[in-house]
């Protein structure tokens, strides 16, 4: 079974978020990037299948500029077998559907039997791409998956619903599974893994290589971000000021007023 994992490299969760010059995204120079947290669980889920002997090959795929190599190397260091890096200026700023078309083209070219992705990205919080990739491939899909149980022809997944309830769904293979954060214990790349990763192949591809230059570039976007900004403050909290003792004193007074002391 050939397993593909879709990875996004996103600004580090603690990175400074300054709006860029044209006001349409954040300023990305000189900030730290990392693998999208949801995607790390997707990589782990794929590697578990490899450990169990049911995945022959785990391929990690990412779209983005040169910096994305680092995210792919990290995933290779964790144990993925090889990487595909779609590095093409025409793919910069693609909307979700164009991005999904690129990923679907890679999955088709590779003949993936199973595609994993994270439920959402920490930067755009969109939860858009995985079901789109599934639709384009004609695969059944499930999102927000916290547990998987594989058999020969299908996989039984548990989807997280509201209030801690779970929905169990059986998906025939080939299929796509979008993993919820916390689904498993993500391994670290070991030193040995990192050394081995240096020898593992990272294929760099353009949109033309994948046959989607005319259908999946940013020029085909149907959805555009016009502006991003710090949200206007609503009824914001009364901020206490003073020394630690003064602040704590005010909190104790408030707790007394609430009748809790």
């Amino acid at each position: 079974m050939k397993v593909m994992v879709c990875l996004k490299q996103v600004p580090h969760q603690d990175a400074r978020l300054d709006v860029n010059g044209d006001g349409t995204w954040i300023q990305e120079d000189n900030i730290k990037f990392e693998i999208n947290s949801y995607d790390t669980y997707a990589v782990e889920e794929a590697l578990k299948l490899k450990d169990a002997g049911s995945a022959d090959e785990v391929i990690v795929v990412s779209i983005g500029p040169d910096r994305v190599t680092q995210a792919l190397r990290t995933a290779l260091g964790m144990g993925a077998d090889r990487a595909i890096h779609v590095n093409d200026d025409a793919a910069a700023g693609t909307d979700a559907l164009a991005t999904a078309k690129i990923l679907a083209a890679v999955a088709k070219e590779e003949g993936a039997d199973l595609v994993f992705a994270g439920l959402m990205a920490d930067d755009d919080n969109a939860s858009a791409i995985p079901p789109m990739v599934a639709e384009l491939l004609g695969f059944p899909s499930a999102t927000g998956v916290v547990a998987t149980d594989f058999s020969d022809a299908s996989v039984k997944v548990e989807r997280e619903l509201e209030g801690g309830a779970l929905e169990v769904v059986d998906l025939p293979k080939p299929c796509l599974i979008a993993i919820q954060s916390g689904a498993n214990q993500v391994r670290y790349a070991s030193l040995k893994g990192i050394m081995q990763a240096k020898k593992k192949p990272v294929d760099v591809k353009t949109l033309a290589d994948l046959g989607v230059a005319d259908s999946a570039s940013a020029a085909q976007n149907k959805t555009t971000i016009n502006k991003i900004y710090v949200p206007p403050k609503g009824d914001t909290a009364e901020i206490l000021s003073g020394s630690t003792d003064e602040v704590v004193g005010q909190l104790v007074t408030k707790i007394k007023e609430l009748g809790l002391l």
């Binding site: 559907l97 639709e135 899909s141 959805t223 991003i228 949200p231 914001t236 602040v247 909190l251």
Partner: protein
């Protein structure tokens, strides 16, 4: 501007409030004709109700195959209703059902898509939306061109409470499915019931270390006679078990006092605690979204404030 198809979701035998929020969003779009869609088994009456409470003409896919949510059934039903209505905009709530199916519809129709929006309106050749990015730290204005599928964040706008003329109209679709529904597992009772606590002290990623929960967070909860809670990243990291999680995918709580320490305030956490009577937020980042739902905020290191507060509360109790 064009027809807006509002997809209803049924929860516990009724059309959920988030679906009426979609109706309100659709009614708010200049010149839009609103149509509804109800999918399920034995849902004729619910479809008539939706039609009369704001959705107008309501398509209904009433089939035993739709008794439980199924991504393939929903995907085909929505596409069929979109064709029947000629809808230019399809609105779906951003719930576990919505985020599972909505992107598939957009890919299937090869049209624009945006998600988890808090505002929707008519645009130039498409629609305009506002949505949160970077876990609520920034807002984005998004525009689409042509036909659009969008999901709306539950609770972002008030539900529609007026009435409308319109009846239910069956729409037929091939509902064959690859995915098979097996069962719903209800959350198991674990003994940690935050919903009954008067005081909850929750820690977030800012606590930084699993050992700090019993050392710093639990003692404040104890001295206030309350319970300890946590945000999702803490549970995802395995620092605390799932029953401690406050949020849309954990426990939804409304204590007399909620103290959030080192929690930035991602939407999914806010949904789980914003109904609390009184909220105190302690966070180093003055721009953290948690301060927008808090009554009192302390911009400081929780490791300074929380132990001192524990001690002061203990002293006040005498």
């Amino acid at each position: 501007m064009g027809t807006v198809l509002v997809v209803a979701e049924i929860q516990n035998g009724a059309i959920r409030e988030a679906s009426y929020e979609l109706v309100a969003a659709a009614q708010g779009i200049d010149g839009a004709e609103v149509n509804g869609l109800v999918i399920g088994s034995g849902v004729g009456e619910l479809a008539s109700e939706f039609a009369s409470k704001g959705a107008g003409k309501t398509y209904v896919v009433d089939d035993a195959a739709a008794e439980n949510y199924n991504v393939d059934v929903w995907s085909k039903a929505i596409k069929a209703a979109a064709e029947a209505s000629g809808a230019e905009l399809i609105l779906i709530a951003n719930t576990p059902t919505g985020w599972d199916v909505a992107p598939r519809i957009a890919a299937g129709l090869d049209c624009a898509f945006t998600s988890d929006c808090i505002k929707a309106g008519a645009g130039d050749g498409g629609y305009n939306f506002v949505r949160r990015v970077f876990n609520g730290k920034l807002d984005a204005e998004v525009s689409t061109s042509g036909r659009t599928v969008a999901t709306m964040q539950p609770g972002a706008i008030a539900p529609f409470e007026g009435s409308s003329d319109g009846g239910a109209e069956a729409v037929s679709a091939d509902l064959s499915a690859g995915a098979k529904f097996v069962e719903i597992k209800v959350a198991e009772s674990t003994g940690v019931d935050l919903t009954k606590a008067d005081v909850i002290v929750s820690g977030g990623r800012g606590v930084g270390d699993p050992e700090k929960f019993p050392e710093i967070i639990q003692p404040l909860a104890d001295v206030l006679g309350g319970a300890m809670g946590a945000s999702r990243p803490v549970v995802d990291a395995g620092w605390l078990d799932h029953p401690y999680q406050v949020g849309s995918s954990g426990q939804v709580v409304a204590p007399k006092l909620y103290i959030a320490a080192g929690i930035s305030g991602a939407i999914q956490h806010l949904v789980g605690m914003k109904a609390s009577n009184f909220i105190v937020a302690i966070n180093k980042d003055p721009d953290a979204p948690i301060f927008e739902v808090a009554d009192i905020g302390v911009v400081a290191d929780l490791f300074d404030i929380v132990p001192a507060l524990t001690e002061a509360v203990g002293a006040a109790k005498g």
